[in-house]
């Protein structure tokens, strides 16, 4: 069923629909074209979800195999990219359940309250004021990627989808099967966690 044939759903413009229809009508060799479109995005998403490259590669393979397996069930009611990330996030969550990791730590808002800091700041630090292009070098990119990996996974999934992959609050909620308010709560805590890590990074290195 296409969006055009279903009057109950808003028409969605998606550059991937034509390719998916071709694959689903038997041109399975075109599946690789779909993989090529999203390989890099999914590779980086997986690297941010898994702590080592081997797990990340497994996650991408499983995701694309699941996409191939279930592509016939795609209903054209959402953008393909959103459906792909739903499959990827689900693959990621299932992998974690099978692993021996301890449950995710909860981040409490109280940990990050400005009044809880040892010294209440009396000015905005330079790293928040200088031009972003002067600040964002290779080392900072590497640091932020490491700190994202140190977030508990339920917070990491939300901040990666919202702030790195660029999904909206509603889209992220649909991808993860959460309420929009839950997405907002997790996102705020994840951002505050990273803010604290960046603050430490800049203060310790006296940049």
């Amino acid at each position: 069923m296409t969006a055009e044939k279903n009057p109950n759903h808003k028409k969605i413009n998606d550059k991937d629909f034509e390719l998916i229809q071709a694959i689903n009508s038997g041109q399975t060799d075109k599946f690789h074209d779909l993989v090529k479109r999203y390989e890099q995005k999914l590779y980086n998403f997986s690297l941010r979800m898994c702590r080592d490259h081997s797990d990340a590669e497994d996650m991408i393979q499983e995701t694309f195999l699941n996409v191939f397996r279930y592509l016939k069930n795609f209903r054209y009611e959402t953008k393909f990219k959103n459906w792909l990330y739903k499959v990827a996030a689900s693959t990621c969550i299932k992998k974690r359940r099978k692993s021996k990791f301890a449950p995710d730590k909860e981040l409490s808002l109280d940990e990050f309250r400005p009044g809880n800091e040892t010294e209440v700041p009396d000015h905005v630090p330079d790293w928040a004021l200088m031009p972003l292009d002067k600040l964002l070098n290779q080392e900072l990119s590497s640091t932020i990627n490491q700190e994202i990996l140190s977030l508990p996974k339920k917070y990491r999934l939300v901040i990666v989808l919202r702030d790195i992959e660029g999904f909206s609050t509603v889209e992220t909620a649909q991808i993860l099967g959460l309420s929009p308010s839950n997405v907002k709560v997790r996102l705020h805590r994840a951002r505050l966690y990273l803010r604290d890590k960046l603050k430490g990074y800049f203060e310790n290195d006296q940049r």
């Binding site: 191939f68 000015h123 004021l129 932020i144």
Partner: protein, 87 residues
């Protein structure tokens, strides 16, 4: 920003809404409250500015290229999927 001589009882309330403010997800009344508060509270103003910067850094972090070897391996795996699996 003016002074920090104010009652800090609203700090927590403001603090909880900073991400929604940054994302443009708050109504005008709440936005005005945050702006007024941040103008009088150095701690909250600093928190807001550093949080904005944190979000900007995340939004601009660069992706890594896919290693060619992995790309080739993925292509092989895709080509070898049994065509009976679906679609």
């Amino acid at each position: 920003m003016t002074s920090d001589n104010h009652d800090h009882k609203h700090c927590l309330e403001m603090f909880q809404k900073l991400s929604e403010y940054i994302d443009g997800e708050l109504d005008q009344v709440n936005c005005a409250e945050i702006e007024k508060h941040a103008d009088n509270c150095v701690a909250c103003f600093t928190c807001l500015e550093t949080l904005k910067r944190t979000v900007a850094i995340c939004k601009n972090v660069k992706d890594q290229p896919v290693p060619q070897e992995f790309s080739r391996k993925l292509k092989e795996i895709i080509q070898n999927i049994p065509k009976t699996t679906s679609p």
